[in-house]
């Protein structure tokens, strides 16, 4: 092989290497979830000022199931906060929680393993949404809240479909914790640990506080 040909073939090889590497690095578009208060992003365990409650709020736990993937979105686990947009487009529907059939028959593996802390052992059924934290900045005035929202039997089925404008074009969905907490505090409910009519209101409030961010 002549030196010129050898140089050309080397160049082609290098080009191919970088081309393949670039292709591999490109990930399919993903929809991500974030926790927020109005327009600001918030982080678990870090207090933020709630405009609606006019008080300091700290969220310690926030996780929920995304239907029909039976995927646990857990803000404590950053790797869980994404889902390929292609999957959503294929399903046409997104929901919050675990549907009744899955509740009654699903194998308890993966994100549905009860060791994830999202299953009521005393009363069969998955907890659809779990939010825990406290309101108030000083320790003495801190008001803790624990919301374990679930229930799959009528009339307290808390499974809800999401209906969000621009969902299929969205890149990020924000859970507006401020808006959700305002509904709960107004009821007022600070502990929610079992299926009930209040849990249904809470599930709807959670659904309504999810919106697309740019």
């Amino acid at each position: 092989m002549s030196p010129i040909l050898a140089r050309i073939s080397n160049l082609v090889l290098v080009y191919l290497f970088f081309f393949i590497k670039t292709l591999a690095a490109q990930e399919p578009p993903r929809l991500s979830f974030e926790l927020g208060s109005q327009e600001q992003r918030i982080t678990l365990g870090i207090p933020f000022f709630s405009a609606k409650l006019q008080d300091s709020v700290r969220i310690e736990v926030c996780k929920f199931y995304l239907w029909p993937f039976n995927k646990l979105i857990d803000f404590e686990d950053s790797t869980s906060l994404f889902i390929p947009i292609q999957s959503i487009k294929k399903q046409h529907k997104l929901g919050l929680g675990i549907d009744s059939l899955t509740n009654a028959t699903a194998q308890m593996i993966g994100d549905l393993d009860p060791t994830k802390g999202m299953y009521w052992t005393w009363q069969n059924g998955f907890i659809h949404i779990k939010i825990e934290g406290g309101i108030g900045c000083s320790h003495t005035s801190k008001r803790p809240f624990i919301y374990h929202i679930g229930g799959y039997q009528s009339p307290n089925n808390t499974f809800r479909l999401l209906s969000i404008d621009g969902l299929y074009e969205a890149q990020t969905l924000r859970i507006d914790a401020d808006t959700f907490l305002a509904v709960m505090v107004q009821m007022p409910v600070f502990e929610l640990m079992s299926p009930s009519s209040r849990a249904v209101i809470a599930a709807e409030a959670f659904r309504d506080c999810i919106h697309v961010t740019k």
Binding site: D113, T121, N124, Q153
Partner: protein
């Protein structure tokens, strides 16, 4: 020779299938609600479930097993214990129900709070007044035990102790607890006959009790308010605690009447020690629809109820304490 051999083989296979059929669904029983053929009943898994059922390793301090409140000699109830006993001498609020014929039931526990047999064990494992444990801790203890990984491998071809396999094994064992060999069952199969007294009792039963305690399972497993006043100490409102529906207040699941001699005391809170006390309640004049029975009729009815005792079930060695635990503990 070859033909005989083939015939023998066919006969053996047919016998084996018939045996399985009897074992899984007695001929005079209805189709189970839980489709047994879909649950992949497996002897190795059931045996693992049996070992787990009798092993106190499931409790936080290794003191309480499932069998602590559900012993085989008591039809898997807790004879002579009004309320269930748990970890650190805790006392529950309900009488431990007898475990049998579970594949024919829609839901479990006195209030039907549990709808899946393969998830039922989570309730006692994590209850602070029963086993007081955490599922993740149980899985770790089993994994670290030195012998369970091997047992799980034998049963599931996987030595990792997972939630799914743990719960499945316990379900497999419990699905095998089929009671269908009482005198009543022999009569149904034309292998025995009732005495005159039992016949009279059977007629009374069909007239007064069969609507709720429907034969051959002797329960329709519905939820009923049977007129028992609220125990103000226990404050147990039954199904209401699960559904939060006011109409469900004081509704409890109708228990099966099989094996009554072995599973006293009776009712959800074990308030009655004898069958005469139970009949005394149902014949009380202040109930909306009391059953009217003479003293003789009560005796006859009880004579029939005693034909529902299934000694074969009680003393079935396949259900008792597993020898494996004796050797390995």
């Amino acid at each position: 020779m070859n033909r005989n051999y083939c015939l023998a083989l066919v006969f053996a296979l047919a016998s084996c299938m018939a045996y399985q059929g009897v074992r899984l669904r007695p001929a005079h029983f209805p189709e189970p609600i839980m489709r047994l053929k879909h649950t992949k009943l497996n002897a190795k898994r059931a045996e693992l479930g049996r070992i787990l059922f009798y092993d106190p390793i499931l409790s936080a301090n290794n003191s309480i097993s499932c069998a602590s409140c559900h012993t085989s000699y008591n039809a898997f109830a807790h004879t002579d214990h009004r309320l269930s006993h748990g970890i650190h001498d805790s006392i529950g609020t309900r009488n431990a129900p007898a475990l049998m014929n579970l594949a024919w039931q829609h839901s479990f526990m006195w209030d039907g709070a549990i709808q899946r047999l393969d998830a039922q064990a989570l309730a006692p494992i994590e209850s602070p007044v029963e086993m007081g444990s955490k599922l993740s801790e149980v899985l770790k203890k089993l994994q670290d035990s030195g012998y369970y990984p091997q047992l799980f491998y034998k049963a599931y071809k996987d030595s990792i102790v997972s939630t799914r396999h743990l719960l499945d094994a316990l379900m497999q064992f419990q699905l095998r607890l089929i009671s269908a060999n009482a005198k009543y069952d022999s009569v149904q199969r034309s292998e025995a006959v009732f005495t005159e007294q039992e016949k009279k009792g059977y007629l009374l039963f069909k007239k007064n009790c069969n609507v709720c305690h429907t034969e051959p399972l002797f329960s329709n497993f519905s939820f009923q308010r049977n007129g028992l006043p609220l125990d103000h100490h226990l404050k147990d409102f039954g199904r209401f605690l699960t559904t939060a529906q006011p109409t469900d207040s004081l509704l409890f699941k109708v228990p099966s009447l099989r094996n009554l001699s072995y599973s006293y005391p009776y009712m959800h809170d074990g308030r009655f020690k004898t069958l005469y006390q139970v009949l005394g309640h149902y014949t009380k004049a202040n109930l909306p629809n009391p059953i009217l029975l003479t003293s003789e009729e009560k005796v006859n009815l009880i004579a029939f109820l005693l034909t529902l005792n299934d000694k074969h079930f009680i003393f079935d060695r396949n259900f008792s304490y597993p020898p494996y635990l004796l050797k390995n503990k």
